[in-house]
């Protein structure tokens, strides 16, 4: 889980970084490694510390504790202007008293353009890159939001920074434009191969654009992993519920994975007999267990957990099932619930079901009403956590 696929050298490292304002820790003991050329995203709800983390990397704030290293060297005490970072803010922060060209060229007052070109060539090159080749003499105020965002991007890249820091650069734009721009941002990042740290509250954006994602809550990353891992194998309940829709159940393990011995331990429990058939299934792939949630029994897959990490009977277990894995009238684990609410979204309908006072979210093509039977397969349930008795 969270395996680091890239083995490129570490570009930015946070080592036990804490930032306190008075008594509250905005960033609490964060350790992260961003590799060279990686597109790394900090995602989380407002107040989770993601922007503060970015500002610490940029040097606008100094950590209360811990070290930040660029390419292995500590940057403690190095002011932002000496860190070789490019920053794009949510509001773009274009200098209103300069033209677009002057904005893009501003950083070249302090560094020679990379690649041995002249300043003018570099500005033209970047405006070309962000698809605004004729904007050099324009007044920033005359640009649309999306254009401003691209100019801010060009300005940040112009001096050839080592690290690009993007702080919610698209939050002020409408949804459609945001989707188009994030494709463009990702394309530019890949083309330049520039190490990028991206901050967003939009989990969909984070999944779409990143090589790796850190899901933050309460000043700490809850999980750092590639988007697919974060989505499919959330490490904590918070991640499971923050990234996409999810149904999280907490229950008790009533059968152990596979062996008859484990089942035998349950002794005279009347439930055992009813479980036998399912147990056989479990025994077949050896990687399932039975759990009980509010009196209802489910079989859930254990993924690649080995004997040591597998839960034993009586353990408290938390699992999640994505709405798209809850099939109407299908699946090996079945429940019957009442449709409480249906939102027609176009390609699908999102429905909230009432299952004995619990809320369950499913997706289907068309809206339903009344009682429905839904089910999921053990392999589609993901175990988030286990607490031993």
């Amino acid at each position: 889980m969270g395996s680091e696929e890239s083995h490129a050298p570490v570009a930015v490292e946070l080592d036990g970084v804490t930032k306190r304002y008075g008594d509250t820790a905005a960033v609490d003991d964060v350790s992260l490694r961003v590799r060279e050329g990686e597109f790394f995203t900090l995602v989380g709800p407002s107040g989770c510390g993601k922007t503060t983390t970015l500002r610490l990397i940029a040097g606008f704030e100094a950590p209360t504790e811990g070290a930040i290293r660029f390419g292995g060297d500590s940057v403690a005490g190095v002011p932002p202007e000496a860190r070789d970072v490019g920053v794009v803010f949510q509001n773009y922060a274009l200098f209103p008293h300069m033209t677009v060209g002057e904005n893009v060229g501003y950083g070249l007052n302090f560094a020679d353009p990379p690649g041995g070109v002249t300043r003018g060539e570099r500005v033209a090159e970047l405006l070309e890159l962000v698809d605004l080749p004729d904007a050099a003499d324009r007044d920033p105020e005359s640009l649309s939001g999306g254009q401003k965002q691209r100019v801010a991007m060009a300005r940040a890249i112009a001096p050839g920074p080592d690290v690009l820091l993007l702080d919610e650069p698209m939050s002020a734009l409408d949804a459609r434009l945001r989707e188009r721009l994030r494709v463009q941002v990702k394309a530019i990042q890949s083309e330049l191969g520039i190490t990028t740290v991206y901050v967003t509250h939009d989990q969909e954006e984070a999944l779409a654009i990143s090589d790796r994602v850190a899901v933050m809550s309460g000043g700490t990353p809850e999980q750092v992993a590639p988007p697919r891992t974060v989505y499919r194998e959330p490490a904590t309940r918070f991640v499971a519920e923050f990234v996409g829709d999810n149904n999280v159940f907490t229950g008790r393990v009533v059968g152990a994975s596979g062996t008859a011995d484990a089942e035998g331990e349950r002794g005279g429990d009347g439930a055992v007999d009813g479980e036998t058939g399912a147990l056989d299934d479990g025994a077949r792939d050896g990687n399932e267990t039975a759990i009980e949630v509010d009196g209802e029994r489910f079989r859930v897959g254990l993924g690649d957990r080995d004997a040591r990490t597998s839960p034993g009977p009586g353990d408290r277990i938390t699992v999640c099932v994505r709405p798209e894995h809850l099939r109407i009238g299908g699946g090996r684990n079945r429940i019957t619930a009442t449709v409480a609410n249906a939102e027609f979204l176009g390609e699908t309908t999102r429905m909230t079901l009432d299952w004995g006072g619990r809320e369950i979210v499913i997706r289907a093509r068309d809206p339903l009403s009344g009682e429905v039977a839904v089910g999921f397969d053990p392999a589609d349930a993901h175990v988030i956590g286990v607490e031993s008795e």
Binding site: H97, R155, P161
Partner: protein, 601 residues
Amino acid sequence: MSDRDRRSDGSRSLPDRLEGRLLTLLAVATSATLVVAFYYPVATVLIEAVRVDGGVSLGAFAEILRDPFYFGEAARLFAGESPTAVARDLVSPDRRLGIVGFTAYQAALSTVASVALGLPAAYLLARFEFPGRRTIRSLTIVPFVLPSIMVAVGFVATFGRNGTLNAVLGALGLPAVDLLFTLEAIVIAHAFYNAPLVARVTTAAWESVDAGAVETARSLGAGPVRAFVDVVAPQVYPAVLTGAALTFVFTFGTFPIVLALGGFQLATVEVFVYRLVRDLSYAEAAALAIIELVISLGVLLAYLRYEAQSAVRSRGARPLPRKPLLPSTPTVREWVSRVGLAAYVAVAAVVFLAPIASMILASVTGGDGALTLEHYRFLAARQRTAAAFQVRPWPAIRNSLGFAVGATLLALPMGVVVAVLTTRRYRGRKLVDAAAMAPLAVSGIVVGLGLLRGLVFGVEVAGWRVTASGAVAIVVAHAVAGYPFVVRTVAPGLEALDRSLVESARALGASRARALRDVELPLVWPAVVAGAAFAFAISIGEFTATVVLATGADAYTMPIAIERFIGRRLGPATAMGVVLLVVTGCSFVVIERLGGESRGL
């Protein structure tokens, strides 16, 4: 990607590092200037008050506190008499207030008059639309740049025995009145100065009331009056209190107006401090000045505590809509309010325009009432024939301009640096703000006296005798008096700037000082220029510290010249006043043109 070397602190070049520290260097220079030009001189004066024969004694304070001459009946309280007896005497008709009591009394009256005159103006400016509204709104800044001694000349020309008021009364067949050297004249002059301040802060608060809040109250069932009482008034009245508190403090420390309109028979504390200084009673002067300072600061602190508790400055998303001044089909109620406003405008026109008009008129009116340029010719003749002890007009003009240029050049960087320091977030920022703003609260007499005895008379530093000429001391005193106004115009602009602009510049490689030069200053440039014009105008009009420092014939300024003329020859004084008016008028135009309207004070 790493084709650009990362510059760590150790490998940066010396100029780079100097530039990185430029702001720190400027801050240190500003602090040093403040210490030399303000804190050290003021401290020497204050120490004077407690030093008796090499020891420390509070005797001077005790004497003043127990002296009925200063504290009136209240002095007996300090002397240990029973409070009830003192209170009984205080309410009796022939009570004695003493100088301090009188100063507080006239300040309180002036505050009431200023609020009474300022509030209708705020109502008019905030709630009505009419041609010239913006111009009048920006004209409320005028008092800050009008030299007080010139206003005093205007009031003498209006209310004096041969002034315009008596001319008008005479023409109407009414008996002449002599308001000069009365409390009324002083209070009206103070209202002239401070009512626009009250109007200005109140208008700003009124304009920031969100129309949505009033509409919500109305939709919930409140009538227009109730909505005003419940929604508008609570947001406006802290501003009124701000105006009142500042007015009280300003008028408590008043000097040139009382000196010119009240003389020593209606002396306030500041005037008496000046008299003691002239009589070389430095210890008593210092002790009295400290008591004055403590009272002023007490009022300010009490007010600031109140403000901190009730600071709910909401930025009105949508201001209340303005009503037309002349509705097409007025109701009875509208008629009444319009008639009331018309009466107010008439009174305001007399108070604000009469002194200036009278001064201009008097400067071109001869003894026989005919138009003449004789007063200006007198100034020209005096320039040629003046005896050594007499004031020549040209050096006064030249000095005023020279000092003002010098003071502006000094005050501008100081003000900008302090504005930058006080708009950044860090612990102790309030303390820096207070320390930097202290010159606003300390009497000009004390600053002048401190500079005179500390720098002009010379001071021993490590075996070297350091002395400054009177001219240098005046420039420094003016800069110290003027730079808080630079801070107050520039700081709101910087505060309003998006922080990410500076951060973008820094991430792109600009040092803090470079970001200030490239991004912040260009964006707040109008405020910087307005601040410079403020500093210039304050210097041109500064009287209090100058009168103490202008000992030699080489250092007098236009306000000093006017004061010398005013008692003996009103004509030349008014002519000089007109010259001063033209010069300050020019700096006002600069302030107005460059957008001082919505900023700061």
